[in-house]
């Protein structure tokens, strides 16, 4: 099999992403997001396992009644399809356990789960993630989007000071 293709030039990817984000605003009035969808799936799945687990007034109760047949859920499904298509076409698809190069397989799984936990909690606090707030909030120049990015980069770089020996390539 041929070698995987290298990634695109960052500025080409950035212009393409900016245009797609603009088309999204024209089509729908809002930008691209992710955690609106993961929050809906979490609420509906937990309620299916434990019916009535979210009483009225709790954060996720509204997400249960809102349901899953919405633009954001279809968009997030599309991200999976687009990511799969892109990785297959460029021969980058490969089943593997990625993560910090110097961490053991068990640590990689644990770090991914804990990292996801911080990310999921943070995205609910900020009412959006790197896509929904960091990208789609800053594009119409919302102050909230820029404030989010300040928190994201400062906390990310500081945390990385403690993590960098694990992440440095071997």
């Amino acid at each position: 099999m041929a070698n995987p293709e290298s990634h695109w030039n960052s500025y080409v990817g950035g212009v393409a992403l900016g245009v797609v984000l603009f088309v999204t605003f024209l089509a729908t009035g809002h930008g691209l997001g992710v955690t609106g969808a993961t929050t809906g799936v979490t609420a509906v799945a937990a309620n299916a396992v434990l019916p009535g687990v979210f009483p009225k007034g709790s954060y996720l109760a509204g997400y249960v009644s809102f349901g899953l047949d919405h633009w954001i859920e279809w968009e997030v499904l599309g991200v999976l399809v687009g990511g799969l298509a892109g990785s297959l076409l460029a021969r980058r698809f490969r089943p593997r356990l990625d993560g910090p190069p110097r961490a053991s397989p068990a640590s990689r799984l644990a770090l991914a789960f804990v990292g996801g936990g911080f990310s999921g909690f943070g995205a609910r606090m900020a009412m959006g993630c790197t896509s929904g707030m960091g990208l789609s909030g800053t594009a119409p120049l919302a102050a909230a989007g820029f404030l989010f990015l300040v928190g994201f980069f400062v906390a990310g770089v500081l945390t990385m000071l403690a993590m960098q020996t694990l992440w440095r390539s071997t």
Binding site: G14, F25, L77, G99, R124
Partner: protein, 184 residues
């Protein structure tokens, strides 16, 4: 016809999502070493892609408005909830330093075959449930709005959107020049 057009159906979501996922994957955003490389200041792909996208989209949005083709009243502009927005961003940043991804990029990681991307997504579900558990105790300060609804940076600084967009383009060019030896 004046945008936005209200295409809120499944096809619109699916098509735009496919384009989004394809671009993220092509830019290398399914790879946790590229993503965390930005936090180690060893790889500038994340900054270059994100800020180029933001600046291009901002120029198109404000350009379309100036031409009378886009009604900003129909565009979602988030408001500032100071502590929620700032600490929430910090949570997403800590999550990337620990787990290698943010929510959208963990999806692309899973789509390109990475098991740790799946674990990250499951962790997002866990973090969402944890937020639900403490929501009533923290919502009064986390979701306390700061300043006017849909506050923009040009409004906050009292300058024109064009000036902000030009400044962002200058920053992209300057950072690109300063980090030119790091990677294309």
């Amino acid at each position: 016809m004046i945008a936005p057009f209200g295409f809120g159906g499944w096809l619109s979501g699916l098509v735009l999502g496919i384009a989004f996922g394809f671009i993220l994957e092509g830019s290398g955003f399914g790879d946790p070493r590229i993503l965390t490389g930005q936090l180690r200041l060893a790889d500038w792909s994340v900054f270059r892609v994100m800020f180029t996208a933001i600046t291009v989209c901002a120029a198109l949005l404000y350009g379309a408005r100036a031409l009378g083709m886009l009604d900003f009243g129909g565009i979602f502009i988030p408001s500032v909830y100071f502590w929620g927005t700032l600490l929430g961003g910090a949570g997403v940043g800590i999550g990337m330093a620990l787990g290698g991804y943010c929510p959208g990029t963990s999806e692309v990681a899973l789509a390109s075959g990475r098991l740790d991307g799946l674990l990250f997504l499951l962790g997002i579900g866990g973090g969402t449930l944890a937020f639900n558990a403490v929501y009533l105790a923290i919502k009064s300060w986390v979701y306390a709005q700061t300043g006017p609804t849909a506050l923009t940076l040009p409004h906050l600084l009292g300058i024109s959107p064009l000036l902000v967009i030009v400044a962002m383009a200058v920053i992209i060019a300057a950072v690109g020049w300063l980090t030119r030896s790091v990677k294309p």
